[in-house]
Structure formats: structure tokens, C-alpha cells
């Protein structure tokens, strides 16, 4: 990203969007305190409950933050701003890079907010653990960055709001953000093919001693990223060739 001024204003615009702040920062925080607060001192199978719940909320919050870049793209399309940008020297790649980077920025804010919230409920992790968790989450968010761009070009603002809510909730639920829904069996194998499952696992890497996620996690993330990129390119082409 050569153009730092453009990126700066892109991030500024994202930060000033209050609706966004509520969904990706406030909601996970409220849920965290509501559920983990009363169970502050509970330990399940050797794991401190607030830590466990914090990892789930971190996956959900950062995913919501990332996917919301789609809503911003859809809004810019609707008002015709995307076309205006197309007649500037800013390349499509730079346009999307700025969207993804500001999405990452917001994801990191959501994660930092939850980390601070966790600390107030007694969560203690080493610097290495915090960093590992953060880096793995950032990798796990890649498919969602691309899904966000695709949705932004696929849907109109009016339908994208509810759709994003539904999609993030479904991904979070299946991925186990609110607690594992399948302990074993066929369904567990199915959800293991979904990137949000591994996003939650990335977040929970700090819970287990083994640390790094298995090969399957990387495969799922790479395959989803590639598949979503192909889909996003198709959707983008169809969208930009549309008769106005």
C-alpha cells in the first residue's frame, strides 16, 4: 500500500462509523461480561472460564469486524462512489487493500478490547501466548476478508445488513464461538471444514499445550481463501459490468 494518506482516511472513516463500533466492539464485550462475569472464578476441565469465553468472543468480534468491510463496500457502491474511484489512478487492488487493512485494524481493536476485558476478569496470559493468539487469528481472518469483499459486491446495503448479521452468527455458532456445538460425530467433521471453526481454534490455541493448529486448519483456510477469491472475482466482474 503505497498511499498512506488514503489508508489513513479509510481507517478514520471506519472508526467514525458508530454502527460498526457497536456490532464489532460493544456486542462481544457485553456478551463477554454477561456470561463470563457471573462465572468469573469457574474452572472447567482445568480451563479458567473467562479465558475460555474470551477466546470465543475474540473469534466472533474479529470476524464481525472483518466482514463489515463488505457493508462499507456495498454502501460505496450504492452511492456511486465506487464508480467515482474507478476514474482515479487508484487501482482496484489498492482500493481493496485499504478495505482489508482497515478491516484488520478494526479486528485488532476488537481483540484488544476483549483482551482488556478478559484481564479485568482475571485472565492472565504470557506475552508469547497473547502474540500467538493474535497472529493465528489474523491468519484465520483471511477467508473472511475475502468473503466481506464478495458480499459487498453481491448485495445491496439494505439486504446486506441483515445478511451480515445472519452470516456472522451462523459462522460463529458453527465454529463454536459460543461453546462447542458438536463434540463428536459426522457434524463435527462437517464444521471442521468451515473456516470459523479454525478461527475459534486459533483463538483457543492458548488453551491447550499443543499450541499450533493442525495441518487441516491451514488447508481449510487456504482452500476457502482461494475458493472465495474466485467467487469474489466473478461477483466483482458481474457487478462492474452491470448496466446502470
Amino acid at each position: 500500500m503505497k498511499n498512506l494518506t488514503y489508508l489513513k482516511f479509510e481507517i478514520l472513516r471506519t472508526l467514525r462509523n458508530r454502527r460498526f463500533l457497536i456490532f464489532s466492539l460493544v456486542f462481544p464485550l457485553v456478551l463477554f461480561f454477561a456470561v463470563a462475569g457471573p462465572n468469573k472464578n469457574v474452572v472447567v476441565e482445568g480451563i479458567h472460564f473467562p479465558l475460555y469465553y474470551m477466546t470465543g468472543m475474540a473469534a466472533w468480534g474479529s470476524m464481525t469486524a472483518m466482514l463489515s468491510s463488505g457493508a462499507r463496500i456495498a454502501a460505496e457502491r450504492q452511492i456511486g462512489w465506487t464508480r467515482q474511484m474507478k476514474i482515479t489512478p487508484l487501482s482496484t487492488r489498492s482500493y481493496f487493500t485499504a478495505k482489508v487493512l482497515s478491516g484488520y485494524m478494526m479486528s485488532i481493536f476488537a481483540l484488544v478490547a476483549l483482551a482488556i476485558a478478559g484481564t479485568t476478569l482475571g485472565v492472565r496470559l504470557s506475552a508469547v501466548q497473547w502474540l500467538t493468539m493474535l497472529l493465528l487469528l489474523l491468519v484465520g481472518l483471511v477467508p473472511f476478508a475475502i468473503i466481506g469483499i464478495m458480499l459487498g459486491h453481491l448485495m445491496k446495503v439494505d439486504s446486506l445488513g441483515p445478511a451480515l448479521g445472519g452470516i456472522t452468527s451462523l459462522f460463529a455458532l458453527l465454529g463454536g464461538s459460543f461453546g462447542p456445538i458438536f463434540q463428536s460425530g459426522v457434524m463435527l467433521n462437517v464444521v471442521k471444514d468451515i473456516p470459523s471453526y479454525w478461527l475459534v481454534q486459533a483463538s483457543q490455541s492458548v488453551l491447550s499445550q499443543s499450541g499450533w493448529p493442525p495441518l487441516q486448519a491451514w488447508v481449510v483456510i487456504v482452500v476457502w481463501s482461494l475458493a472465495m477469491t474466485r467467487l469474489a472475482i466473478r461477483v466483482y466482474r458481474r457487478d462492474t459490468l452491470r448496466v446502470l
Binding site: T14, N17, W81, P89
Partner: protein, 349 residues
């Protein structure tokens, strides 16, 4: 229909064409990249032929109005000039480059019909952001002053009036310091006063020698601001020339009357009448403008006191355009029925 505008139609049409050809010749002779060249530009959307093989050459520094009613193909043409859509046939060359390369080089500033400034930024922030995208932008303060947006520069882009928004959009187009400014109906959403302010600002900008192409369906705007008017209707260029000629052409008046037993050849000798037609008992006299129709009306009554049901009305842009295209279609022999594609052509931007 042809007869109504008969005497004037071929004249202006030919002059328009000759203007084009002259400039093309110069461009080819010099073999120097310059100006804007549209050749055989064609674009259809499904069954609708939005732009039908347009040839147009615009010299550097010219201010050209694309004048035409809705559905004339103005926006489709502009989209192709800006590289926002690809022609089915033909090509666009901007200063010797493809539109995409000219855009990449930062030579083009555009104001589209849509393109509401993004929210969560002040006017100044928006212009600063846009300036950062271009290789040689104008100074942000200079743009704010020039476009009259300075006094509300700290206001959020969402808290502006229609006229203010339009000026901000113009600032967005101008901050590039472009060689070519393309404006698609820049005053469509604003009131008369705002419109006048806008063109006053434009005049200052154009004085810097930029090439300007703007689309409008207001004859007055095209007349007041452009050096040259390119009249479009139903996907074609139907006339091309200085505003005075085009204005005379589409600013015409028609006198209708019920008058028996007078030959049209006799009626066309009335001073001010460019063409006379008869349908049954009714006669139609075409005049170039309101002065000549006034004079013709007086003479008509003096000569033939028996004339009844007198009616004088302006031809109006829309009607003038339709008649002009009707001529064109008959001439072109492209196998398309008039009514058939007349209805289809409408509603396309």
C-alpha cells in the same frame, strides 16, 4: 417531418460534419497525440442501441456540450470516454492514450451523475484524500477556494445542501488538476441559483485551458457555457456546431392555422417562414425563432384574414430532437422502424 426543418437541416448537418472532418485531418496530419477522438463508437444494452457509431473529435482546450434528451446516449458515451464501460465497436482515444491509461496517468477528472461523496469525512478530509491519489494534484486549499467549498470545508460531507454537495463533487473532479474534465449533467440536482453559481465557478476553471466535455439537457446551459454543442438523439450525433447555430436549430417556433385554398408554395414566401406544410385544412409554418414567428404571424393575418385556430408554440428540445432523429433514421436506412426503436431508446441514460 423532414420538410418541417427541411431548409435548415442539411445545412447545419453538413457544417457540423465538416467541423469534425477538419479536426480529424489536422490530428492525422500532425500525427501528434492530442485531444479526444471517438471513432465509430457503438454500444448496445440488449436490444437497445444506446450509442450508434459516433465519430467525434475534440481539440485540446475545447469546451463541448453534449446536448440531448434522456435516452440520447450521452451518459453511455461519457462512460466509454471515461473507460467505465467498454464499447461494442469503435474506440476512444484521450490525448493519444486509452481511457484506462489516461485515467491511470491522472489526466482525467470526472463528475458522474451518481457519486455522492463518502460519509464520515469532512469536506477538507475528502479532498485531501482524493488529492493523495493523483500524481500532480492541485493544492487542497486552492481547490476549496476555487470551488467555493472553503467556507464549509470542516463540515461532514453528509451535512451539505444539494448545491454544496455538487460543488464538493466538482472539487473531487478538479483536485486531480486534470487535462480533461468530464461532467455528466453536473447541474441536474440543483436549483437555478445553484446552477448559475456552478457555471460561474466552471468558467474560472475552464479559463485555465482545460478540455471540458459536459452532458446536459438544458439548451441554455450548453449555449451559455460551451464553445461547441454536439447534439445527440437516440444514440447518434444529429448536429454539431457553435451554440448560435444549434440554438437557432432547436429554438424554433411553429405556427399552426386552419386555412383553406392557399398553396404551401405561397405560404413559404412569408418572411420568417422556413418551411410550410399542409395537412388537410391545417397548415404548419416553421420559423427559426420567436422574432421571425411574430413577424410571420402578422404577415399571415394581413395576407389571409380568413386564417382561424391560430397557434404558435416552441418546438422544444425533445420534439426537435425527435424530428432530427427521424430524418436521420430515414436517411441512414438501417432497417430500424421509427416508432419501434423510438420507444426503446427512451429511458436510457
Amino acid at each position: 417531418m423532414f420538410e418541417t426543418f427541411g431548409p435548415t437541416t442539411p445545412r447545419i448537418h453538413l457544417e457540423g460534419l465538416s467541423i469534425c472532418e477538419k479536426v480529424v485531418d489536422v490530428t492525422i496530419a500532425d500525427d501528434r497525440p492530442g485531444g479526444i477522438v471517438l471513432s465509430h463508437l457503438t454500444k448496445s444494452f440488449g436490444d437497445v442501441q444506446a450509442v450508434r457509431s459516433i465519430d467525434l473529435t475534440i481539440a485540446t482546450g475545447e469546451i463541448v456540450a453534449l446536448l440531448g434528451p434522456n435516452g440520447a446516449g450521452k451518459t453511455t458515451t461519457i462512460d466509454m470516454v471515461l473507460g467505465l464501460s467498454q464499447p461494442d465497436k469503435g474506440s476512444v482515444t484521450l490525448f493519444g492514450m486509452t481511457p484506462a491509461n489516461a485515467v491511470k496517468a491522472g489526466l482525467i477528472g470526472g463528475m458522474l451523475q451518481t457519486g455522492t461523496p463518502v460519509q464520515y469525512l469532512s469536506v477538507r478530509e475528502l479532498i485531501t484524500m482524493m488529492a493523495s491519489i493523483y500524481p500532480h494534484p492541485l493544492d487542497v486549499d486552492e481547490v476549496l477556494h476555487l470551488t467555493g467549498t472553503f467556507e464549509f470545508a470542516e463540515r461532514p460531507t453528509t451535512k451539505l445542501s444539494g448545491g454544496q454537495t455538487q460543488r464538493v463533487r466538482f472539487a473531487v473532479a478538479l483536485v486531480a488538476d486534470p487535462d480533461l474534465l468530464v461532467l455528466d449533467e453536473p447541474t441536474a440536482a440543483i436549483d437555478v441559483e445553484g446552477r448559475r453559481d456552478f457555471w460561474n465557478i466552471m468558467r474560472k476553471v475552464a479559463a485555465q485551458g482545460k478540455t471540458v466535455i459536459f452532458a446536459t439537457h438544458y439548451l441554455e446551459e450548453a449555449d451559455a457555457f460551451a464553445d461547441r454543442i454536439v447534439l445527440m438523439a437516440r444514440g447518434r450525433i444529429v448536429a454539431d456546431g457553435p451554440p448560435t447555430e444549434i440554438k437557432a436549430r432547436v429554438g424554433g417556433r411553429v405556427i399552426r392555422a386552419t386555412l383553406l385554398d392557399v398553396a404551401t408554395s405561397e405560404l413559404s414566401t412569408i418572411v420568417g417562414v422556413t418551411n410550410a406544410e399542409r395537412r388537410g385544412d391545417a397548415v404548419t409554418l416553421a420559423c427559426a425563432d420567436s422574432d421571425s414567428s411574430d413577424r410571420a404571424l402578422r404577415e399571415l393575418l394581413a395576407r389571409y384574414p380568413g386564417a382561424r385556430d391560430l397557434e404558435v408554440r416552441g418546438v422544444g428540445l425533445e420534439e426537435a430532437f425527435l424530428e432530427l432523429t427521424a430524418d436521420n433514421d430515414e436517411d441512414a436506412d438501417d432497417g430500424l422502424g421509427f416508432s419501434d426503436d423510438g420507444t426503446k431508446g427512451h429511458g436510457l441514460g
